[in-house]
């Protein structure tokens, strides 16, 4: 993991598609999605773009199926995420708009100075 030291509080916001990109692997990322399955060791999460992601959790993780959460954790080389924290985003979260926001705005090089170190 030759990842440069990531600045504290900085994590790129990704959707399922972006998780496949090795660019952020080894670093901390944010994934917003809906928990579809929780088998005690990992979550199946539907990301903002509709694609599925696998998120590894600790046994003491509390998260109900059906809730929309922001998962902040390590982006592993195999495309999965290891969860550090999860934040409840409410049950009225607009995934489509959020997906547009991260895909077209936050990851747009034009606005890099507003969002990235």
């Amino acid at each position: 993991m030759a990842e440069q030291q990531q600045e504290d509080g900085y994590y790129p916001r990704l959707n399922g598609q972006m998780l496949q990109n090795p660019r952020h692997m080894g670093g901390i990322i944010s994934l917003v999605g809906t928990i579809l399955q929780n088998d005690g060791t990992a979550l199946s999460v539907r990301c903002a773009d509709g694609q599925m992601a696998r998120v590894t959790i600790e046994p003491d993780f509390v998260g109900n199926v059906g809730t929309t959460v922001e998962i902040v954790g390590v982006h592993n080389d195999d495309g999965t995420v290891t969860l550090f924290v999860a934040r409840d985003m409410g049950n009225d979260f607009d995934m489509a708009t959020y997906n547009q926001m991260i895909a077209k705005v936050q990851n747009n090089p034009k606005y890099a100075e507003l969002f990235t170190p």
Partner: protein
């Protein structure tokens, strides 16, 4: 976007807006009432303002006074007189302090308690401070967001405000949308800075005759910057220059004819434009 640029005084000390020192013209005071949506990254990148107002400026040139942002509570430390939050929004980490008054009414205390939970998102309104390079925000409002969509909305609002500033949002007080400004704004700029001879970060000097931020300079006629760019673009096309009546017609939905006249008079007195064959034709001096 229907965002409320209102201020929430959560019982903490009211903002002292006149903390800025001696020569206070009305325009300065107005510009110091801006409230800008930011990300933590933007605040971390802020540097002391090129004017010696003692304020900080964003990298895009805007001077910041009040800021608002949305972030998650990484940690909270409550003392008897103040509460200290560590807030992160995915772009960086920021320290936020809020005064605690033991005589605060219950609603205020409740709001603070609701916000003082780890790993929830809050909206913060306050003033940025920089003590020897260490940045923090003195918040007068720390409120838990009511829906996760506030996060999305805020990020979009940050970019909207940024874009609008770059395209010259003067004339917005008449309800003009940026679309009508773009043909002139778009032709003129490369690096997003105003006008001819000023560099990117130098958009604000104390004798500022150019545009302000979201608001307007108080001593400058409405729409001066719009008219200035019109004269430049149209005027450069011929020796005779731009026609005043065509200019009034162009801006008829945004500026009154007397606004245009005031703007022209102001620009002419400042030397930015000059009349050519008669008093209805102007060219830009830049």
């Amino acid at each position: 976007m229907s965002s409320a640029y209102g201020m929430e005084f959560g019982g903490a000390d009211p903002m002292n807006r006149n903390s800025m020192g001696s020569s206070q013209s009305n325009s300065r005071r107005y510009e110091e009432q801006t409230l800008i949506p930011v990300t933590i990254r933007m605040m971390l990148n802020a540097t002391p303002s090129p004017t010696d107002s003692g304020n900080l400026s964003l990298r895009d040139g805007r001077e910041i006074h009040q800021v608002k942002f949305v972030g998650a509570v990484r940690g909270v430390d409550e003392q008897s007189t103040n509460a200290s939050f560590q807030i992160e929004d995915g772009t960086g980490l920021m320290e936020v302090k809020q005064w605690v008054n033991t005589e605060d009414c219950r609603a205020v205390t409740q709001m603070r308690m609701e916000a003082s939970v780890e790993n929830i998102y809050v909206r913060i309104v306050g003033q940025m401070k920089d003590y020897d390079g260490r940045k923090s925000v003195m918040a007068h409002s720390v409120r838990r967001i009511s829906t996760g969509n506030e996060l999305t909305h805020h990020m979009l609002e940050v970019v909207y405000s940024f874009e609008r500033y770059k395209r010259g949002g003067i004339g917005a007080s008449k309800g003009a949308m940026p679309q009508s400004v773009t043909p002139y704004g778009g032709n003129m700029q490369s690096g997003g800075s105003y006008g001819g001879g000023m560099g990117g970060g130098q958009a604000f000097t104390s004798n500022n005759s150019m545009g302000g931020q979201m608001g307007m300079g108080g001593n400058m006629p409405n729409g001066t910057d719009l008219v200035r760019r019109y004269i430049k673009t149209e005027g450069d096309k011929s020796d005779i220059g731009a026609d005043v009546n065509m200019c009034k017609k162009y801006f008829e939905n945004q500026l009154s004819p007397s606004d245009v006249d005031s703007a022209l008079a102001h620009l002419a007195s400042e030397g930015h434009i000059y009349s050519t064959v008669d008093e209805t034709k102007f060219k830009s001096a830049e």
